[in-house]
């Protein structure tokens, strides 16, 4: 019985890991393409989810600002938009965001050190966080794009018949796994086997040299940030469905970092494998060891686990070898 409990924890851990991976993927993409550690990834997920809800519910953007400035009372347009259009529209907005980021920020920071770019993305995170709130309000929003949620009955009965113990698996998690797998496959194919993918990796290595061979940094950046924006939207949808669209959504970035570390900042498959290991590890640890040391170990355990891996492989499991030459 204990074994079955443990395997249920394990399966749930794996699924939680997939949810982390969804966020981690966005980081990897941008890191791979520009050597930028995009701190704003979590906020982008929040922003995307907020926008999606706002569009679907027909909220008036900047309602609060308009009301405060003009003393009027606008709130909703009075219509609702089907999820599929909402998602498409939000994806477009994320492309717009990518263009704006390139034009207003990245363009001016070509060739700067990574930490400077990192800092700029922090500025961006703050800006986006404020913008999201001003646009759509800071209340908790319920997001429902039609993804099923709750325990899957069929798995429960199936496992019950088979093992005599019904596994509780959230249907949302199953969906997340499927979507993540598809995303990873698509992204790996893109970055390894296409011309744009190669250009993207070239940009990450050396901005100047990339420019000198005619790769347009602007194009690559817009492309990558758009993809990352799309990944953020997917992550936002999954997490937003799970626990509502609200500020805390931006903090899931912190859960994605150990995943990145473990999988390697530059590896798309790494993001998924890292997620699985972290999800599984932290859940099992909390389940078995947590009660002995007072619990709430998940936050640090993920990092410590990743740290241990790094001591043996400083570039993460699948990261590119760090080139050390003189």
């Amino acid at each position: 019985m204990e074994f079955l409990y443990a395997s249920e924890v394990l399966v749930n851990g794996l699924m939680a890991g997939v949810m982390y991976s969804l966020v981690a993927l966005g980081f990897v993409l941008i890191y791979k393409a520009s050597g930028v550690f995009n701190y704003a990834q979590g906020v982008m997920a929040l922003f995307a989810a907020m926008t999606l809800v706002g569009i679907m519910e027909g909220r008036v953007p900047f309602a609060h600002l308009i009301n405060a400035a003009f003393g009027v009372h606008v709130d909703r347009f009075g219509w609702t938009v089907p999820a599929i259009f909402g998602i498409a529209l939000t994806a477009l907005i994320m492309v717009g965001l990518a263009i704006a980021v390139e034009k207003l920020v990245l363009k001016h920071l070509v060739g700067q050190e990574p930490i400077i770019l990192f800092m700029a993305t922090i500025g961006l995170a703050w800006f986006l966080e404020g913008l999201g709130d001003v646009m759509w309000g800071a209340d908790v929003k319920v997001l429902d794009v039609g993804l099923p949620q709750g325990i899957s009955d069929s798995i429960e009965t199936a496992t019950n018949n088979w093992l005599g113990y019904g596994f509780f698996i959230d249907r949302l998690d199953i969906w997340a796994t499927v979507i993540a797998a598809a995303l990873v496959a698509a992204l790996v194919g893109f970055s390894q086997y296409t011309k744009q993918g190669r250009a993207m990796r070239a940009v990450a290595d050396d901005h100047q040299a990339a420019l000198s061979v005619g790769i347009s940094l602007r194009f690559i950046w817009i492309m990558v940030w758009s993809i990352a924006g799309f990944v953020a939207l997917v992550a936002g949808i999954m997490w937003g469905t799970k626990s509502g669209v609200q500020f805390s959504l931006s903090l899931i970035a912190l859960k994605a970092l150990p995943v990145l570390m473990l999988g390697g900042f530059t590896s798309i498959p790494g993001a998924i494998v890292g997620g699985l290991i972290i999800g599984m590890g932290e859940k099992l640890f909390e389940y078995f060891i947590g009660p002995m040391v007072g619990g709430a170990t998940e936050n640090w355990f993920a990092y410590v686990l990743a740290l241990l891996f790094l001591v043996f492989r400083p570039q993460g499991l699948f990261g590119e070898r760090i080139i050390e030459r003189v």
Binding site: R198, D206, Q208, A209, A210, G214, I323
Partner: protein
């Protein structure tokens, strides 16, 4: 042989470059590069050769440098403010000083990025890849290794090959011979010559190795402290006594041993 006055493809007119808003590096440089020619840009360390080339290919911005005066035109049209990528599409590509290979990409992937702007199909690109490998067989051997782990010379070949992959009209070469074995230096210049003659590619090359450069170039400019101090056809420069002494290391009796230049001497400056 093409000469400077006829049909200038690339013209630099009295440009001034400032880094970081305060460091004035080029103080009025003018050049003219004829179509189909090999033009050499010579000068000591820090003279401003690299800066000139970067000004042409619009790569200064990312180093916080800017062209504050003067004009650069390519085929008669000004290029300032143009996206470097757009310039490559027009056929101007730069091989940067210090190699700048994409470390994490393999040698072959590096070469393929050179063909980024091309849209003439895979077959043509594959053909050119073979051509580059035939120029640099060593690259073929190392095609699958990450460029970051290849030796200095291999990286230099890789950078050259990458530029060739874009089928350029004009190549700006920054110190192609640096760090190459003597045999290879000759080879590289032979390749330059072959590409120049065979495919009509125009070259502007910055070089420290004056000796070789003047042997292959048609025309030369000598830069010192951000100014052009002398220019002329290559043969003429080769015969100039000052050039001979300071750039070719020849005294009246021919080449002297490096062991003998022990006494301190102050070099003559064209401009005080």
């Amino acid at each position: 042989m093409p000469d400077a006055t006829q049909d200038p493809l690339l013209e630099v007119n009295n440009i001034e470059v400032i880094y970081n808003h305060v460091i004035l590096v080029l103080k009025g440089v003018s050049l003219s590069v004829p179509k189909g020619g090999i033009t050499a840009l010579l000068g000591g360390n820090g003279a401003g050769k690299t800066t000139t080339l970067k000004a042409i290919s619009n790569l200064l911005q990312s180093e916080r440098g800017e062209v504050t005066k003067g004009q650069i035109t390519y085929r008669g049209a000004p290029v300032q403010g143009m996206d470097p990528a757009a310039l490559v599409k027009q056929g101007v590509i730069q091989v940067m000083e210090g190699r700048h290979c994409f470390e994490h990409l393999t040698v072959e992937e590096n070469l393929l990025t050179g063909a980024y702007t091309r849209s003439d199909g895979r077959a043509a690109i594959a053909r050119d890849l073979e051509m580059v490998y035939s120029y640099f067989p060593r690259l073929k051997e190392r095609r699958k290794s990450q460029a970051g782990y290849t030796s200095g010379g291999e990286q230099q070949m890789c950078a050259m090959g990458r530029a060739l992959m874009s089928r350029p009209e004009t190549i700006l070469l920054d110190e192609p011979s640096m760090g190459l074995a003597p045999q290879l230096v000759e080879q590289i210049f032979e390749i330059v010559k072959a590409v120049n003659e065979g495919e009509g590619v125009t070259f502007l090359l910055a070089e420290q190795n004056t000796n070789v450069a003047l042997r292959y170039a048609h025309h030369g400019y000598i830069l010192e402290s951000g100014r052009v101090v002398m220019d002329g056809p290559a043969e003429a420069l080769r015969e100039n006594p000052d050039v001979k002494e300071f750039y070719l290391g020849m005294s009246e009796q021919g080449r002297k041993s490096f062991r003998d230049v022990r006494s301190y001497r102050r070099r003559k400056r064209w401009l005080a």
